[in-house]
């Protein structure tokens, strides 16, 4: 099995083959003496040349991360031989940025109107969750093309709330 893996923006190719005596692993073509045990769901114990790593998989509706010890890595995994891919069309339309709800909550206020000009970092709207009002800021300088949120309505994490171009 061959996987193209992107970790924090860096690409890796991981080749794994099952053999009688274990798994054969190559990382970017280089052989790795890998010993892997899934100890419980989402927790992998890796031993490589004696060094032990506990790797946790964190899969949320929004994204995929792996934790190696206390460090968290954003990941995308693609199997070149299948159509299953977690890579999103990220590069597309670099000039358009979506303002996405980072958590579920309730939209309490809009701070700008459609077609209005905003600065990078300027507040666009306010979402309330867990007793706190959280100002969501524009990811870039530009024009607010569209506001998809309505004050008083609940939103889910990942919902697109506004588009800035």
């Amino acid at each position: 099995m061959i996987y193209d893996v992107n970790i924090d923006g860096q690409d890796y190719r991981v080749e794994l083959a099952r053999e009688k005596s274990g798994w054969n692993c190559r990382l970017n073509g280089r052989e790795v003496a890998l010993d892997a045990v899934l100890t419980r769901a989402n927790v992998l114990s890796l031993l490589i040349d004696g060094t032990a790593y506990e790797v946790k998989r964190e899969l949320t509706p929004l994204d995929l991360h792996f934790w190696v010890g206390s460090a968290r890595y954003a990941a995308e995994v693609r199997d070149p031989r299948s159509l299953r891919s977690r890579r999103q069309s990220a590069g597309a339309a670099a000039g358009v940025k979506k303002l996405v709800a980072p958590m579920p909550g309730k939209v309490v206020r809009l701070l700008v109107a459609e077609k209005e000009q905003v600065q990078a970092g300027q507040g666009v709207l306010v979402v309330e969750a867990m007793k706190m009002q959280n100002e969501l800021k524009s990811p870039k300088k530009g024009i607010v093309q569209k506001i998809l949120a309505t004050p008083g309505t609940p939103v889910n994490a990942g919902d697109v709330l506004a588009i800035v171009e």
Binding site: M1, G22, N42, V43, L44, L46, M130, K131
Partner: protein, 506 residues
């Protein structure tokens, strides 16, 4: 002793109080809102009653509904926890009228000590040092005069205040007008009371508080201080006892001042007297928290006492079972408040489902938690999920122990501030005990100082490949094994074991 205790709260503090009830052999009654049916406090209770929608005003803050559950269940006492109705004298009074014992101080003590201006007046009469300023609500003209007298910079504060609301720092006379107006209207909106007073600003103070305990027979004791200077937006994040700067003599003086405050207020049960401490170790009375504090466990660890047991015993009319000289402070304790919030993204709250939970154990580690794996954190309440408390023979050991425990702690599926504590506990100023209420803000201005280095992206890559490969092998190896199988978690370990063994010998 009480026959049954209702806990008018949710989350970790409700669980903590229920544990004390069970240890005392008293059945506990939970109340829960619409979004809390599956919450841990319902699982820990002997009885549980639904009290309404998610909105706290219609459930946990609704006095009538809570007293109705007390009546239906036959509870003869109510523990309010912290937050919600815990400092509401109207609730304490309503309990009394309903013939249910409120586990806390009297409504009168709450009213006297809960108003900051009334409390300041009382402290003045009793000779307890407090921050210079006014001790009553001010009109603007008076504010101008008082500010000039105590000298800028000053703080404007709401008499009914809390949580930083109605609070303004004023550095010069020309800022006063607009600050005064906005503080007043904010206080009016937040507390329905626009009373505002002035305190001299103590620059970069420490926030140190003293735990007191008073029975209903006139005995009042102090149980040592807690240093609570690690704060963000006036919200405590980490607390410890003892304070790195308080020695035995200062502790005794603060303790005696705190006992005097409690006695002036006719205080009973557990309470906390907060002080500001300046860089010359002068301490000034700030306010009284007329409830059990979130951070009470650090005092429990250094005294070896259980404050909730003692609260219940005091409320049942028992005298304190020890005297001041019997209180033995030993070792060092520190608490990390685990919040559902994202320290890497403006501390945005992070409700959602906890998909994986690995919890620390071993020596010197206490967990007071309201979460479990599989539980969905509702978006309707305070983001405090759990408290991790470390104990060690000294401050250094406690810090290292908490770092170890944080290494073991993992909450997956939602964001938490666990990584923030790794930073705090490795910060040289923190380790040196150089703290003030500005410490955390300064630390957060240097995100590049994060001690967690991303040194192993290639390990993450390999793991990503292995997880993907495991999903390609038959479902019994990796995937959960279907309806009636008891252990979806056991998965591929045994099959991989053989492989692992051979590889590791290479």
């Amino acid at each position: 002793m009480f026959k049954k205790i209702l806990i008018a709260n949710r989350g970790e503090i409700a669980v903590r109080v229920m544990r004390a009830c069970r240890e005392l052999g008293i059945p506990s009654v939970a109340v829960y809102s619409e979004v809390d049916r599956a919450s841990l406090h319902v699982r820990h209770a002997d009885e549980a009653y639904f009290i309404g929608p998610a909105a706290a005003t219609e459930s946990y803050l609704n006095i009538e509904k809570i007293l109705d559950v007390a009546r239906r269940s036959g509870a003869d006492a109510i523990h309010p926890g912290y937050g919600f109705l815990s400092e509401n004298p109207r609730f304490a009074r309503a309990c009394g009228e309903a013939g249910v014992k409120f586990i806390g101080p009297t409504a009168e003590a709450m009213e006297l000590l809960g108003s900051k201006t009334r409390a300041r007046q009382a402290m003045g009469r009793a000779g307890v040092p407090f921050v210079p300023g006014s001790s009553h609500g001010l009109e603007f003209d008076e504010a101008v005069r008082v500010a000039r007298e105590v000298g800028y910079p000053i703080m404007l504060k709401a008499a009914a205040g809390g949580g930083g609301k109605g609070m303004r720092t004023v550095r010069s006379a020309d800022e006063l007008r607009s600050a005064f107006d906005s503080a007043r209207s904010e206080a009016e909106r937040a507390f329905g009371d626009g009373e505002v007073y002035i305190e001299k600003l103590i620059e970069n103070p420490r926030h140190i508080e003293m735990q007191v305990l008073a029975d209903e027979h006139g005995h009042t004791l102090w149980l040592g201080e807690r240093e609570c200077s690690v704060q963000r937006r006036h919200q405590k994040v980490l607390e410890e006892s003892p304070s790195p700067i308080v020695d035995a003599e200062m502790r005794r003086r603060m303790g005696e001042a705190a006992v005097k405050v409690a006695e002036i207020g006719g205080y009973t049960n557990a309470g906390t007297v907060e002080f500001l401490v300046d860089d010359k170790k002068n301490f000034y009375f700030l306010e009284v928290n007329t409830r059990l504090q979130v951070e009470h466990p650090v005092t429990e660890m250094v005294t070896g006492l259980d404050l909730v047991h003692l609260q219940i015993q005091i409320a049942a009319g028992e005298p304190l079972p020890f005297r001041q000289p019997d209180v033995q402070l030993r070792g060092h304790a520190m608490e990390c408040r685990i919040y559902a919030e994202d320290p890497d993204n403006n501390f945005f709250p992070s409700p959602g489902t906890i998909t994986l939970l690995l919890i620390p154990g071993g020596p010197g580690v206490r967990r007071d938690s309201g979460m479990y794996e599989g539980w969905s954190v509702p978006l309707d309440y305070d983001p405090l999920l759990a408290k991790l408390i470390g104990y060690g023979s000294d401050r250094q050991q406690t810090i290292m122990r908490l770092r170890r425990a944080l290494h073991e702690y993992f909450v997956g599926g939602i964001k938490t501030n666990i990584s923030l504590f790794r930073r705090i506990l490795k910060n040289p100023n923190f380790i040196a005990g150089k703290l003030d209420t500005g410490f955390l803000d300064r630390l957060l201005q240097h995100p590049e100082d994060d001690p967690v280095r991303k040194e192993h992206p290639e390990i993450a890559a390999i793991a990503a490949g292995v997880f993907a490969a495991l999903e390609h092998v038959p479902a019994t190896l990796n995937g959960p094994s279907g309806g009636s199988a008891p252990a979806p978690a056991k998965n591929g370990a045994s099959n991989w074991r053989q492989a692992g063994r051979v590889e590791s010998l290479q």
